[in-house]
Point group: C2
Chain length 127, copies 2
DNA sequence: AGATACCAGTATCCGATGGATACCTTTGCG
DNA sequence: CGCAAAGGTATCCATCGGATACTGGTATCT
């Protein structure tokens, strides 16, 4: 009776939960949310804040997030153009899981890196 | 002084937190953890439980997780071969963030799907 | 004896995807 | 005139994920 079993059917591909997991597991999506939690931002601000993202990928990410109802895109008919992105309530609610993940990452980065170094030393260390 | 700012430097590529984020944001990693939280499993059990994973990718995932200290791999020199995987303490600690993410996904799947449908109806609905 | 199955992967091939770079648009300004 | 600004596209390439087939050693089935 799976009292509090989570992700019960997440193992089934095609399960909506899987789709959503894939989305919010996306690297850039997470980072974009982190930026936008601080308030609305324009495209170039996002691009500059999130290190290493290319415009194409950022556009794709933003479009998908908009499609999924995580943020809104507002275009100002000016020159030069201005476009602002802002999280919706749904997008803001991502704060909780993302924060959990970020916290874990920061707390355990050292352990992971240490394990990685140990492994490297044991296998490819002499190459 | 970023009092409680999370992911402060996660925007910097090359930041270890980013590396870890990428890892645990990985679809298969998450699902493998979910299975192994229930106890040690052998390769074929994982492959069968996690829907849609191919052996190659599963192997890659497991190898990386082992390298990162998330699980242990135990080989039994038998015929036919037997290999068992088990989460380490570090791996088990992933339960917390993963659970947060899974919970979000299950709670908001409907909202996301609805937004997606709305979007599809508005743009590609007539194609 | 020979074929077969078992398990945990590899090997190989292919298409999708991510990423780097260059380019486009409009219009105000020097 | 022509360059700069902003928000993307267009193009190309590398990498990766995924599908399928195959391996190896033994024990058992026929």
């Amino acid at each position: 009776m799976k009292e509090h079993l989570f992700a019960g059917d997440a193992f089934d591909p095609g399960c909506p939960t899987r789709l959503v997991l894939d989305r919010i597991g996306d690297k850039w999506t997470v980072l974009v949310v982190l930026v936008l939690l601080d308030g609305r931002r324009r495209f170039s601000e996002l691009r500059d804040t999130v290190g290493g993202v290319t415009p194409k990928v950022l556009t794709q990410t933003l479009r998908t997030m908009e499609r999924d109802g995580l943020l809104t895109r507002e275009v100002f008919a000016e020159v030069p153009p201005r476009v602002e992105y802002e999280l919706t309530g749904l997008g803001r609610s991502l704060q909780v899981p993302i924060r959990a993940v970020s916290d874990w990452a920061e707390q355990h980065v050292h352990a992971v890196m240490a394990a990685r170094d140990r492994h490297d030393a044991a296998s490819g260390g002499d190459a």
